[in-house]
């Protein structure tokens, strides 16, 4: 068992661009779920809208990358409005079902053969990130990072820097918003909607604003996800993507500005640690775990089995996550 490789590669994932993308998605969910108590189970849909707007603008219509990014964020905001209008007046679980359904609608439509010429069907789109890659100041060099501990390819390092910079910006925005009077209204909506309404606040409007802001951050996550892969396809935005983002949020602690940041580093470190560990344990001619019990295909599932189990246990025994405050978060609101 090569422990150095396992730790090094797990750290590479934990700090890497994928972790940063999920951090962005989880920050959006934090605004929805952590601060406002909105159950958005369709964050993948917001990500898909953002990512595909950029990819199809550049790869299909030959328009500018920056224009595409702007349209992607706008599209995420419009999606939030579309989903919010019918559901924000209803019980929390209706929003959950509508958002999960909407995300699935978006994924199936953009992956369809009918729209193949615009969105590339199941194969998705490539070659839309030239203007972004062109800005890469590290291009041409070798691997970047701390040699012997953790290193990345130049393009990965560039996306990683940009992603974490955006994460920092979003954290700052969320921190500023949530200490404002506006943020206090959001938190009180989460605690007791009726009380807030009786004080004369327009709860519906506040929820809508929260949905739009979190959705736009989700759209940003989708754009960065597409850039990080240099490609986009519908499988990036499956229902499980949303559930991963929820796990990231809940690990770190909802309703905490840095909850998603801590959560994503821990989550991706552990997920890749388990993957590498079981991968090595089942590899080779004489694996540590007999192949009758577990083969390499099954080994790749172990991390998800652990993930599902830890999501359950976390929610049951420590719903505030690692850094959250139990008093802060009343999850009993219905």
């Amino acid at each position: 068992m090569d422990w150095h490789a396992i730790f090094s590669q797990a750290l590479q994932q934990g700090l890497g661009p994928v972790a940063a993308v999920y951090c962005l998605a989880a920050i959006g969910l934090n605004v929805h779920f952590g601060y406002t108590g909105l159950l958005n189970f369709g964050q993948a849909g917001f990500m898909a809208v953002g990512g595909y707007a950029v990819a199809s603008f550049v790869a299909t219509w030959g328009l500018g990358f920056w224009l595409g990014s702007l349209v992607g964020l706008l599209a995420a905001a419009v999606l939030a409005l579309l989903l919010g209008v019918p559901t924000l007046r209803l019980r929390a679980d209706y929003l959950a079902i509508v958002t999960i359904a909407a995300a699935e609608i978006i994924r199936q439509v953009i992956g369809s053969v009918t729209l193949l010429e615009y969105f590339g069907g199941q194969d998705g789109l490539q070659g839309f990130n030239r203007s972004f890659a062109g800005l890469n100041p590290f291009e041409g060099g070798g691997r970047i990072g701390i040699p012997g501990v953790v290193t990345w390819r130049p393009y990965d390092f560039w996306t990683l820097l940009v992603c974490w910079a955006i994460v920092a910006l979003c954290c700052l925005i969320v921190w500023a918003l949530m200490r404002s009077p506006w943020g206090r209204v959001l938190k009180s909506i989460r605690e007791d909607e009726d009380a807030v309404r009786s004080l004369g606040k327009n709860v519906y409007a506040y929820k809508m604003q929260s949905l739009v802001i979190g959705g736009v951050i989700g759209g940003l996550a989708g754009i960065m996800s597409a850039l990080q892969h240099s490609a986009i396809n519908p499988s990036f935005f499956a229902t499980d993507t949303t559930f991963f983002a929820y796990t990231v949020l809940l690990v770190g602690g909802a309703a905490r500005v840095f909850g998603p940041v801590a959560g994503t580093v821990i989550f991706w470190f552990l997920l890749s640690f388990l993957d590498l560990f079981f991968g090595q344990a089942t590899a080779g001619a004489d694996p540590s775990i007999p192949s009758a019990i577990m083969n390499s295909n099954q080994a790749s599932l172990m991390r998800f089995i652990f993930m599902g189990l830890s999501l359950m246990l976390l929610m049951i025994f420590r719903p505030q996550g690692i850094f959250g405050d139990r008093r802060e978060l009343a999850l009993d609101a219905r």
Partner: protein, 463 residues
């Protein structure tokens, strides 16, 4: 499950009865077997991978009227380049596969566009392209790997027959699907009604049933009673019993302790997501990622009932699930336990105060709900095959059916499922088949916009 006037339950029973009789009535026509291409041969066996530097255009022709799709051999395919010159041709083999090499090294063909044409004359009798106009496909070579093209093949009547016949044929499929959906939705709705839990792991209860039956089916040898092979009946029985036990375990080990310690409904919803991910991956661990068929459940030739084709399997599924649904509905309506269930759904605190053992009722609801879900899983597996995430794939449709009828109303779940199931299939007349689930989900959102309490739900406004 709010207490509904008896007229509605009667209406449901009548509706189910009508559904069955429609199916039976359409069967009064001729009983001649439809032309069926070679069944049994292995479909779509991919050619062995090569190492040479050429690009091949490959594809597989399968007749989608069969389940699983049957191979269509002996069809001529030709490839033309941009100037219209034929550069290659081939014929589909016994497993329906054709493999046409392009001339020249792969680098020469990059960026070129080729036209792949199918010779309609060589299709077997009775089969035709599902899209009769699509006799050629333009393929642009982008990567130096083989290109896979497909020509959907189905009914010869597809283009010629009236829309009415097509709609009728689709409605038969829709009816079968909607009854399966109804069983799953009824379970989900009962659990929601009595405990308030939106169970995202309900799809895994469906898959569980399909997997148990697969386990029995895959046992060596066959189970016989009096010379008849009853393996599949035993499999259905085992799936029913073990699913019920699985529901009991779910409630006892997880949900009841959570209810007793006062865990919030949203927290429980997230727990159910964790459970869903956990179980789904365990299922994949055990059963693998491939799609399975029940080997000992042969697929007899479909009967041609008038203009529509009906398989004996469809008839069995419709009759069986109708009986099950009617039994559950009657039990809810007439038995003491059923009345207690509806009372708990209506007002848990009040029913506890009147001496109803709420925990016992909820346990029974979990057992029955999981049993229904497991049964729908087995029957779904029989009609279209299954994999480790079959339940997860249709979970949103189950939700759609439940919400459409009204979350927590038993009758609503059945009505919702009938509408969703029929809509999913019949809508393919107009929209592409790949988007049929999308249509149902759009209906779900529109219904929430207009009538959030669902068709049969009780109006309840929050905010």
């Amino acid at each position: 499950m709010h207490a509904r006037p008896r007229s509605i339950s009667a209406w449901i029973t009548v509706m189910l009865g009508v559904a069955v009789s429609v199916l039976v009535m359409t069967g009064s026509g001729s009983a001649s077997a439809a032309p069926v291409p070679l069944a049994g041969s292995q479909t779509c066996q991919k050619p062995a991978p090569r190492t040479d530097d050429t690009i091949h255009i490959q594809g597989c022709l399968s007749d989608s009227r069969e389940k699983p799709p049957a191979a269509v051999p002996g069809v001529d395919i030709s490839v033309e380049d941009e100037s219209g010159k034929e550069v290659g041709s081939g014929t589909s083999n016994e497993s329906g596969v054709f493999d046409i090499p392009l001339p020249g090294a792969s680098i020469d063909n990059l960026g070129q566009t080729f036209t792949v044409k199918i010779d309609k004359e060589t299709l077997p009798e009775g089969a035709a392209l599902r899209n009769p106009k699509q006799v050629s496909l333009a393929v642009t070579i982008k990567l130096d790997s083989d290109v896979f093209v497909t020509f959907p093949i189905g009914d010869a009547t597809g283009g010629g027959a009236g829309k009415a016949t097509q709609a009728l044929q689709l409605a038969v499929g829709g009816l079968v699907f909607s009854l399966l959906l109804a069983m799953a939705a009824l379970g989900l709705s009962m659990i929601f009604g009595t405990t308030g839990l939106t169970n995202f792991a309900h799809g895994e209860l469906i898959t569980f049933g399909a997997l148990v039956a697969y386990g029995v089916d895959a046992l060596p040898g066959t189970i016989r009673i009096g010379g008849t092979n009853v393996t599949i009946a035993v499999a259905v029985l085992a799936a029913t019993v073990l699913s019920a036990a699985f529901g009991w375990v779910n409630d006892r080990a997880l949900w009841r302790p959570l209810r007793h310690r006062g865990t919030g409904l949203i927290a429980m919803m997230v727990v159910s997501i964790g459970l869903s991910i956990f179980l789904r991956n365990i299922f994949q661990y055990v059963a693998g990622a491939s799609t399975h068929q029940y080997s000992q459940f042969s697929s007899p030739r479909p009967w041609s009932w008038g203009p529509v084709l009906v398989t004996p399997k469809d008839v069995f599924v419709v009759l069986f699930s109708t009986v099950v649904l009617v039994l559950v509905v009657i039990a809810l309506q007439r038995t003491k336990l059923g009345k207690a269930t509806r009372a708990v759904a209506d007002n848990t605190a009040l029913s506890a105060a009147t001496g109803i053992n709420v925990d016992r009722v909820v346990t029974v609801v979990w057992i029955v709900g999981a049993m229904l879900a497991g049964l729908s899983g087995v029957l779904l597996g029989m009609t279209q095959g299954f994999d480790y995430q079959i339940g997860f794939k249709i979970l949103l449709l189950v939700f759609a059916a439940t919400v459409l009828g009204g979350l927590g109303t038993a009758w609503g779940a059945i009505v919702g499922a009938l509408i969703i199931g029929l809509f999913v299939e019949v809508s393919t007349l107009i929209i592409p088949a790949e988007l049929k689930f999308v249509g149902a989900l759009v209906v779900l959102i529109i219904v929430l916009l207009i009538r959030p309490q669902g068709l049969l739900g009780r109006a309840e406004r929050v905010g």
